[in-house]
Amino acid sequence: METKNIMIVGVGGQGSLLASKLLGHLLLSQGYDVKVSEVHGMSQRGGSVVTYVRYGDKVYSPVIDLGEADYIVSFEILEAARWLPYLKKGGVIVTNTQQIDPMPVITGAAEYPAGLVEKMTAAGAKVDALDCLALAEQAGSAKAVNIVLLGRLSHYFDAPEEAWQSSLEAIVPAKFLEMNKKAFALGKAAGAI
């Protein structure tokens, strides 16, 4: 099969690394060749962060280039818009609707653009937007946004529910497992577009 590309984008500290680790684990368990590349460094300091997950029969390049992503999984709506040029024609954006103001917006040097979901849809992207923060809080922690998103994303994959569950068990620390399982279920129950 042709290599598929998933970009995970968000704001440093939102948990995108754990999401990519879990996704990598799941895809390996499904027998794919998988490459995951992360941008570290300043990622804890509230900057824009991106992780690449590529899988298929044989994956070569570790990175995803402009116009290549089948899916963009976004933790924040402005970040989805920032990375939109990486989406393949007809690709899907699975995004949290949360808005986090970047420093230039906080200081008043820039404005947070309005109507991003509509704009991205008009540009040809299939946008699957969900208030993941509310569901994460319902599951027990605002930090579970990453797992809610994966629950939502699971609709687009053939992998069986048991495979997702065992990847959750393998990657999520034991004391947060039940809460994260709940977050996954809530994200999944929200359905897909």
């Binding site: 300091r45 390049s61 990175v63 818009a81 939109l84 970047p102 420093m103 200081t107 820039a110």
Partner: protein, 379 residues
């Protein structure tokens, strides 16, 4: 040495890391490392590849044999044309930097576009997307110090660490960053060239960890060659930016076991600095007074700005500060420190309770007493 090189060259001819992957022979690509991955991504089996796992010394016979069996020879390598020039020296006709750039990293799209004229289509929005630069964390001890430097219009020679973010708006308090340790030696040179005027407003800022790595030699130079320089060591008791590694000033080794602990004050004094001051960067008034005094002093000095990184597990935080909306006049004084926990909503300052750690720096900036600390409560 020559003999060794000859043996290595012979080894390169047979080493399994240098291998030919035959595909379509119309194009033959010589490449290595990540450029190989991009090449395969673009061409798959649509070209033949000589993958070099060892690029010095380069194999001569393999390259010639490969070139003889392909129609068009291409070298795909980032930056300088090392392999390409080697091929040319062997008398081979080759495509390389005439088609591919000499600077920056390659990608699959870049190679596809350069060699096949095709690349994936992409779309973007026509509205401006505000950038999201990394910021100092809420409660970061560097913030108060950089605010003070900005307020005093200091020329700040920076170094490598989280505190390089002092260069970013709204603090905008850094004029130069080059490499680890450069702040201190640059300050000495800057002051030698600029004289008394420069000495009275220029500082070097360097973290405890970077200071241990390569700041001490520059400091020795200041002590030995005597400029009235003011060096500020931002001692947050850890290596922050790269994820909390220990360093020789923390008293622990990389495994977290007890280790030797270098005393910064004693070290500076031993080098001959008579003026060694310690400040708490959460205390803006103290920072301001000490920085003014040391810049004015006609002697070399070191200021140690000491407070542990706000993300360290053992650091206890206070409850978030509260804004009294009746007192807030919306003057935005508190916005000058670039704290991610403070924003303006409907003309009033608002605190993000999930981020604020009650450091109280903003409280000191408010002329109207709108920020209220809740002392004692810890989270």
């Amino acid at each position: 040495m020559e003999e060794r090189t000859a043996r290595l060259t012979e080894y390169a001819e047979t080493a399994p890391v240098n291998r030919i992957e035959w595909g379509d022979r119309k194009i033959g690509v010589i490449t290595s490392s990540t450029s190989y991955q991009y090449t395969k991504e673009v061409f798959g089996d649509g070209c033949s590849v000589l993958k070099l796992g060892m690029v010095n010394p380069l194999p001569v016979r393999i390259i010639k044999e490969f070139a003889a069996h392909v129609e068009k020879l291409v070298v795909i390598e980032e930056l300088d044309p090392i392999i390409e020039n080697h091929c040319r020296a062997l008398g081979l006709e080759v495509t390389g930097k005439d088609a591919l750039p000499m600077i920056d990293e390659f990608s699959q799209n870049l190679i596809a576009k350069a060699l096949t004229g095709k690349a994936a289509e992409s779309v973007s929005l026509d509205c401006p997307i505000p950038p999201r630069p990394p910021v100092m964390c809420a409660g970061c001890p560097h913030r108060g110090l950089f605010y003070t430097l900005a307020k005093n219009k200091c020329t700040v020679l920076g170094d490598i660490g989280c505190y390089t973010l002092g260069a970013v708006a709204p603090l905008s308090a850094m004029e130069m960053t080059l490499c680890m340790g450069a702040s201190v030696s640059a300050l000495h040179g800057f002051n030698k060239a600029g004289g008394r005027d420069a000495e009275q407003k220029t500082v070097a800022v360097i973290g405890d960890s970077t200071f241990m790595h390569s700041g001490m030699t520059g400091l020795a130079n200041i002590a030995y060659n005597q400029t009235n320089s003011t060096v500020i060591i931002l001692d947050n008791s850890i290596t922050g930016m790269t994820g909390h590694q220990q360093n020789p000033t923390t008293g622990f080794n990389l495994r977290g076991d007890p280790a030797g602990k270098i005393d910064l004050e004693a070290l500076c004094r031993a080098m001959g600095f008579e003026r060694v001051r310690v400040v708490d960067p959460y205390d803006l008034r103290q920072c301001d007074a000490v920085i003014k005094e040391e810049l004015a002093a006609e002697a070399p000095s070191v200021i140690i700005s000491r407070r542990p990184c706000a993300l360290l597990k053992y650091v206890k935080h206070k409850a978030p500060v509260r804004v009294n909306p009746d007192k807030c006049r919306g003057c935005k004084s508190c916005m000058r420190i670039g704290c991610p926990a403070i924003s303006m909503k409907n003309g009033k300052a608002v605190i993000d309770n999930t981020l604020c750690v009650g450091c109280g720096v903003c409280t000191q900036l408010c002329a109207f007493g709108a920020f209220e600390s809740s002392d004692g409560e810890e989270k």
